[in-house]
Point group: C2
Chain length 311, copies 2
């Protein structure tokens, strides 16, 4: 355990959840943008959100993801009577499908854990973040796990969490394309089928497994062939005007594969190398423009570090 | 291409299909027992099965798996007017769930391909074997692919076949326990659900993917945790008296995991090391005995070679 501090700031990167066929079970940490949470010890015993980071985000600690994670860290550490003031700085878009709520939870948990001298290990932190995410976005760890651990993470189970950090081929790059459209997480989850055919289930399992095999051996072509989601993408694509054309454009521009990031509306493409990722991102942006939607593009490496204390 | 011969014998190992959660998509080649097929060129242009290897197996070339594979090799090689006489020697039990029909198909295909000077590569051979298997046992490659290629094989797709040979940790051993009971492939497939819940589909996908990750890194404990089939095993277990107790016994004896081999009735356990596999096999045999069933046990390594010409 590190010595306790009076003020800690932690950063957690954004992530692509639902990575292709890996609905709820496969996520990728994206280098660059992320959320920061500063935790300060206060004299009381309440958790207060001084700044939620955006006017649309709740400052109510029972609904703020950073505060929920902080509370869960205290509970798991068995620490009572600690007052905390949290300040969130959002580097990730709200409701963008870029793992923003997860990143705030992870940064909050990591900051508070450090503030306490580090009572929780990574498993404990992951469990705390999962509880926070479950309250605001559903019980799945495919954003919190990569945001905490970095890299590409497979979620074998959530109760208790059992996650596997996968190998990341060195040239893998991500294009994140965020069109100017809204799609709420709830609406996006509501269109998922409650049942799938056995054939679809087995196909989906084979694709996720093939992605894992491709990552392990650096087989970019296999990674692309396996990035084939027949459950979430077909259900959500109709809610996302422009996405289907953007995906086709990405593939035509040389992307390995493309799909919806998290529950959308951000679309992502995986590519081998920076240039290919840039070409895919530009092509996707052009496709959205043709559908009448402006879109921002970000080309990024995989974040291999995960959440970290920065001050 | 090798020079053509007048008489070739090939061997193909048995396999565990439906490896745990990998229903239809994950299979493991088992060292030791297998089927042999001798192919001889004849003056006519017909494929004749001189000996099907067992009185219960069809000698009709339209229903014999070795002959079907042989015919498919000729078709894919574009070779007409070739007469073949096939002799099958069964080293694998009939309807045992140990990949016997696949092994006969693979040995037949490999023997005939060699007889022709090797016109087909492994992809072509796999496609030929898959056609034969589809005629007699359903369109799945989780037995033919490991029998042909050796090792543990993930089937990403079957149309066209796209398979991935996975890493095999050095200490991995298999216990195959064959109880004296019958379960036809058709009956065994008939009880599979046509639809599964989304939660079950995602859990199953996560387990197959985690098995692939565990094999890639040699993480035996993860391999055991991931060997959790919630689709086929719950449906088939009621048809297989003694299986549930045998599985419990295997786990209690130190196996990493256990499930039904192929469509049964053979049960298998995976273990780390020969001694653990033997303990699991013995415990499973005792459990079947308590259920009033005699059972044969085989402890084996993974066959890492696959099918081969032996004469």
């Amino acid at each position: 355990m590190s010595p306790t501090a009076a003020r800690v700031t932690a950063f957690a990167p954004g992530s692509v959840g639902n990575l292709g066929p890996g609905l709820d079970i496969l996520g990728l940490a994206v280098a660059g943008a992320g959320d920061e949470v500063t935790a300060v010890r206060t004299s009381g015993d309440a958790i207060v959100v001084e700044d939620a980071g955006h006017p649309d985000l709740p400052a109510d600690p029972a609904r703020n993801t950073a505060a929920l994670a902080a509370r869960e860290v205290l509970r798991r550490a068995g620490v009572g009577g600690v007052g905390l003031a949290l300040t969130v700085r959002k580097g990730l878009p709200l409701a963008g499908g870029q793992g923003g709520s997860a990143a705030s939870a992870v940064a909050g948990a990591v900051a508070v854990n450090q503030l306490l001298g580090g009572p929780l290990d990574l498993d404990g932190l992951l469990a705390a973040c999962l509880e926070a995410e479950a309250t605001v976005a559903g019980r799945h760890a495919d954003n919190v796990a990569p945001s905490l651990l970095g890299g590409i993470v497979l979620v074998r189970a959530t109760d208790p969490p059992d996650v596997v950090r996968l190998a990341v081929p060195p040239e893998l790059r991500v294009a994140l394309v965020h069109p100017d459209q809204r799609l709420g997480t709830k609406e996006s989850r509501a269109v998922l089928p409650q049942e799938v055919s056995l054939a679809t289930a087995l196909h989906q399992a084979a694709q996720v497994a093939a992605m894992v095999a491709a990552l392990a051996t650096g087989d970019y072509a296999l990674l692309g062939r396996a990035l084939d989601d027949r459950i979430a993408e077909p259900a959500r694509s109709p809610l996302l005007p422009g996405f289907a054309a953007a995906k086709r454009a990405a593939l035509a521009a040389g992307a390995l594969g493309a799909s919806i990031s998290g529950s959308g509306p951000t679309a992502f493409a995986l590519a081998r190398g920076e240039a290919a990722a840039r070409a895919a991102g530009t092509a996707m942006q052009a496709a959205y423009a043709e559908a009448g939607l402006s879109a921002t593009v970000r080309i990024a490496d995989v974040d291999r570090t995960g959440a970290r204390v920065i001050a």
